[in-house]
Symmetry: C2
Subunit: 242 residues, 2 copies
């Protein structure tokens, strides 16, 4: 099966959680952001689906994935679909639900990380909500990061398989997303994360183990992997504690 990933060009964004799964799963895929507009790629290709009146099951927003005639939106939903196909999810139904549950909790964390720099409106610039962002980021660093990381640290600790992963003995797509979330938080809040990870060694180990998987490592070293930046979900602003 050949997959087509639709996500905005130039940023990692939420598309990156899907890219990491496609890469680690060895999938045959096209990233539409890397295809020239002349050749049917780029932003117009995305907008055709978002605005197309002829699309029966249109997504609300990118990322979305085309798999044959099927069009699948919402990051966690795309991963739920890809998981078993790319051997990145447990084989049993209960295990798959558990991984989906973890993925949705990671999504909550990522949403909150985004809202530290956009607490008022995603349609306004950061500069238009800087004062509010400062308050929100303060709370995020002091309360939310510890709460989420404590939770995931315990998840790894309670996994009976005792490896570096959250669910079972092998890596799942939720592990890849967790590693990406940690990397993003480290970029955005280097000081807060340094001490946060010192007291949560299992999460630090999961991050390192996921980013050391041969296919992931190759992807991260390639020019397909974009750098973190302040046009993205995770942003480093000194005034927000970054």
């Amino acid at each position: 099966m050949k997959y087509v990933l639709y996500y905005w060009p130039g940023i990692q964004g939420r598309g990156e959680f899907v890219r990491l799964a496609l890469e680690e799963g060895g999938a045959d895929y096209v990233d539409i952001a890397l295809v020239a507009e002349k050749k049917g790629g780029g932003v117009p290709a995305i907008e055709r689906f978002l605005e197309g009146e002829d699309v029966e099951r249109a997504p609300f927003a990118p990322p979305f994935l085309a798999a044959g005639r099927q069009l699948i939106g919402q990051t966690a939903n795309i991963l739920l679909f890809l998981g078993p196909r790319l051997a990145l999810a447990p084989r049993d139904a209960a295990g798959r639900l558990w991984v989906n549950q973890l993925q949705l909790t990671i999504a909550d964390l990522v949403d909150e990380a985004h809202d530290t720099h956009h607490p008022i409106a995603s349609g306004l610039y950061y500069e238009q909500q800087k004062a509010e962002a400062k308050r929100r980021a303060e709370d995020f660093r002091a309360n939310r990061i510890p709460k989420f990381l404590d939770y995931f640290e315990h998840v790894i600790e309670r996994n009976p398989s005792r490896g570096p992963w959250m669910a079972g003995a092998t890596r799942t797509y939720a592990d890849l997303s967790m590693a990406q979330a940690i990397a993003g938080l480290r970029y955005a809040f280097p000081n807060a994360m340094r001490s946060a990870l010192r007291s949560r060694p299992r999460l630090a180990r999961l991050h390192d183990a996921a980013f050391a998987l041969p296919r992931v490592k190759r992807y991260l070293a390639s020019d397909r992997r974009l750098a973190f930046s302040n046009d993205d979900i995770f942003r480093r602003y000194p005034e927000l504690g970054g």
Copy 2:
């Protein structure tokens, strides 16, 4: 199968999306919020799972559902599990993914509705973030409500079954959640929603059709259905346009 729903007592909250599915699906379930603490219910029953070191797959937060020995967290994940069991989801895999995708988009809308009164920190009181809430609510009413409602209106319009529902010819759990979200938004922003629904007749019809389903109607008339309130996700504050 007997289910146990764990959610905070006294509010509808995110538990209500699960309750509506359990009710419409005719499920045999216990709502732990309605069980006295002496009899093993209430808040202590919830906290035992959240804090219990002996729980292998602990949820991050309520709602969560016990189904036999399985414990399932995250609203959309609980509904993904219940959907086929309660005949509230399509039979085909693609249809189930589509309904999950809709549910996750509804969850995004509900999160944003919550953040109108808590844009800075969920751990602070509304009164401590009133100025920021005013700005966020303004954007939510002007930009986000129209964007989400337009999307869902088109979903109903493009459903080839041409009934009142979003996916196929019969109601799914996403329809129930959509009706609840509309009811909540109407409570919180009555003026904005009056005009918003006037130009989106399909959504108004979906709401009415879902809340007129015999089992749902019976539930809404029962004392198990709590009223909307300003301790909940959807809140009516005049200064936020409510």
